[in-house]
Structure formats: C-alpha cells, structure tokens
Amino acid sequence: MTAAAIVTLTGLAKRFGSVTAVERVDLEIRRGELFALLGGSGCGKTTLLRMIAGFETPDQGRILIDGQDMTGVPPHRRPVNMMFQSYALFPHMDVAANVGYGLRRDGLPAPEIARRVGEALKQVRLGDLGERRPAQLSGGQRQRVALARALVKRPKLLLLDEPLAALDRKLREATRFELVRLQEELGLTFVMVTHDQEEAMSMASRLAVMDKGRIEQVGPPHEVYERPASRFVADFIGIANILPLDGGRAWLALRPEKIALFAARPDTDHAEQGRIVDIAYEGDRSLYRVGLLDGSLLQVSTANTARIAAAFRRGDDVWLGWAADAGHRLDK
C-alpha cells in the first residue's frame, strides 16, 4: 500500500446467487485522482462502486478507505458520498432541502447549513434555484443538484454512477469539463463508473477496464489505449486491428490511425497490398475497410484535413503501410 492510496481493495469478491459479479479484485485508488471504472453492462463495475459506498457487502476481501477498514461499515458511517445514476433527488423536498439533507443528518446548526448549501449551489452554478422542486428542473439542473448534494458534506471520496448517462450529447460534453474542473478545484478524489470509453478516456487520470467481474487493466488513458494488456482491452477501447503473430500464440494490436494508405508501394517498415471494401465518412475522418490478399480485413482511418473529395474510392487497389513500432504485442 502506498501512502497516496485513499481506497485499497484487496481480494474483493461478490456473487448474487449463482452469478459472480466481482471476482477477486485488487485495486488502489490514489488521493486526488479522477478514477474511472470502465466496462460493458454486467462487468461488475457498478457492484464494485456499491461495495465502496456500502450498499453491497463483499463475500470476500477488504475495503480500506483512508487507511481504515470499512468492509462491514454501513453506508451512513462511511466518509464517502455518491451521486446516483437516477440522481435520486427527494421529490418532496425543494433543492435547498435536498442539498442540505446530509448536513441536517450531521446535526449542524441551521445558519451553517444555509451557508454551506448556498456555497454548494454556487459551485454547481445553481445559485438561485434553491426553492424549486426537482420536478421543476431540467435534466441538467437535476444532475447538478445531485452533484451539489453529494459534494456538500466534503467527502473524502465522491462516487459517481454513470454521471452523464442521462444527459443529451451536447450537455454531456460540456458537463465533462465541468466535472473535471470541480474535481481539480476541490482537490477531491472522484471514482466514476461509466460504460462510455470516450467519457472515461477524456476525463479520467487513470482508469480500470473491467470484464466479467475482473479488472483487465489499470492505467492512464494513453497507456491503456497504446499499450492494451489484452485483446479484450484493445478491442474494447477504440478500434483495433488484431493480427495473429507467432502462429497464433500472440497478437499484434494495430490502431487504424497508425496505418497509412498509399497508391503505390510505400517504403514503410511494413507494407501490404489490398482493395478498399468499404468507406465510412465521419466528417472529421474517414474509416476504410481494406481487404488484404490473404482475405483478412484491416481498418484504416485517415484525418480529413483538406476539403477535397476523398483520394480513394471503393474498389480501388491500395497499399497499406505502417512503422515497425506502430503496433503493440499482446500475449493474451
């Protein structure tokens, strides 16, 4: 255990009946980082988060929060607050009462509560909405009330369950920056669960990729992207061409943007000949699917930096070229 760890999970396991949700997870989350648990549905990321919050009791393993064993401690006695995916705002209370709920439970004096509620609402830019009911707010406003309610108690750790999933696309992107700004300003540790790899990549300082209750890889976004630990991670994060090596005992993960298209044979480290099967034009870039002579398909993406029609068309014979260090070797 390093001194910087605020959460240490050791050998954590949880099953529901015959289904294993989380299988022997060891994980350290560092103080002051924005950590993302990333994975598809049913991978165990939410169960892991709920075990840290105290809503699920692990079958095995230990949870240390700030050096203290919290394994059997009920949620109301943990120095942790959570923002729920549904926001879970109390519909019978106004915004100020929602945000002040946790402070009232701590028995703080009323003027202190009012001051801190006002402060928290200002932090999330909802200063003048204290008297509204949750039903009178927009989705984005509700999300910020939920955030203020979780932040107002100054927890050691803020857990966020799919914090942006309920927002529409434009608002989601703006809120990403907002959350990162808050996290840095307050110097808090955020642990976020998400199924959206773009969200995890753009926000997190480190992330864990989960599959079938296990952690496949932990690391900063660029490392997970450029040096995936397994074929699952390579395939889950972004797009990857996975080529067999050593007669099928290892693989090469090759990202589409690391491959270039040429009309004639290039003098790159590797060159392959093929024919364009399909082109997906995405505005800022185009994704080509190229059939090689041996029948396999490779995906190649090019940035559309010039406003001219694409240089290649479907059915064109092309050369693919990439550098010797463009790919990453996978052993599993």
Binding site: A53, P74, H76, F90, H92
Partner: protein
Amino acid sequence: MAARARFAFTVLAFGYAFLYLPIALVIVYSFNDSRLVTVWAGFSTKWWSALFANEAMLSAAWLSLRIAFVSATAAALIGLAAGYALARAPRFPGRTLFGSLVIAPMVMPEIVMGIAMLLLFVGSDSLLGGPQRGFLTIVIAHTTFAIAFVAVVVQARLADFDRSLEEAAMDLGATPWTAFLTVTLPMIAPAVASGWLLAFTLSLDDLVLTQFVAGAQSQTLPMQVYSSVRLGVDPQINALATLIVIVAVLALTTSGWLTRRRI
C-alpha cells in the same frame, strides 16, 4: 357511430340505475312526510329531526365512530409494517406464504373470522380473565381484517418506489430508520392515509364480525340499525342510511384521490 354511442350510453344508464337507484330512493324517502316507507306524502325533514333526537341511535353512532377511528389507526400502523416488509424484505423462506397470509382476511368469509375471534376471546377470557367483550374486542377484530387492505395498498405503492432514494438518504448519513421517516414515509403517506380511510369505512359498516365479538353492552351503529329494522322500518333509518352513504362516499373518494396523487 352515433347509434353505437347511444347504445353504450343506454347500457351505462341501466347499469348505474341498477347500482344506485335503491340508494337514491333511500335518500329521497328520508325526506318523506309519511310514516310508510313506500308512499310519498310530501317533503318533510321530521325524520331527520327524529334521528338527531334518538339517543340510542346517536350513542351507537358515536361508539361506531370511535371503534372505526381506533381500529383504522391500528390497522394503518400494522398494515404499513406488513406492506413494507412484503415489498422490501429480501427473499426469505416462506415469503410467498407470508404474503398470502397477510391478504387472506380479504377473502376469508366473515363468518369464519367471527367464529375464530369469538373462540379466541372466550379462550383468553377463561385463561387470562380478559379482555371483556365490548369496545376492545371489536377494535381488535376490525383491526385484524383491515390490516390486509392497508398492507396491499402500501405494498403496491412501494413496488414502484425508487429504492435509490432510500440509499441516497443513507449515503448522506441517515440511519435506515431516519431514512424511512424522512424519505420513505412522507412519500408513501398518501397510500397509508388511503388505507386508513378504507379501514375506517370497513369498520364503520361491519355487522357480521361485530356481532360475534360485541358484548351485551356495546351496540354499534350497524347492529342498532339491524335490530330497529327488525321491529319495523321507520324513515329515520333512511335518514341514517343517507348519512352513512355520505360518509362512505367521502372516505372512498378521498382515498382514491390520495392513491392517485403522486408527489
């Protein structure tokens, strides 16, 4: 289209007439001047005045209201606990059986309930020397079958209740009990109130079960009405019936309104 609509309205009118014509007649004839229930002899409120001067009837009504209030309150508390347990308790062995047992009194013949209650009170009387048959035993009997109605209403409300609300409360530092009092209870209060009104109405007009467990001294309103009808119907009864209809309709519409209202 028009013909079909006319047909539908006719059917509807017959249906409602079948249901409510007798009650309408009771109300109209409570203002009849004649002593004979079947002969209209002009408008009068004399039976209403007679009713409000009828000591026996008034004290029976007062007893019934007290019993209904106490038993509805007891049933609301116990039914709330049962409904909560049914909706929230994790799966435990015998849960289905427990669920069926809670709602069984809704479909159990009242005669059977009455006999069972009578045996219970006779037994406890000889073993423990009480309780005396009267107010308390009627309250206990009414509470027993009203619990089921409250439990069903509460359970239905909790079935579509977002559990993360309770989790959020606990996450913010509330003990499970505080979370229940500050979040769950205020939100399901309309359902509990609606169950209370249902229990109140059921208690107010119960005759069969009450006759088994009432002592000689305690005459509830339905018992009083029943015995006075056997001596010959008097339009006072029409006035009384009109009052009971008004109370029941008020209670049921309030109950329905509370159930539909969502905060």
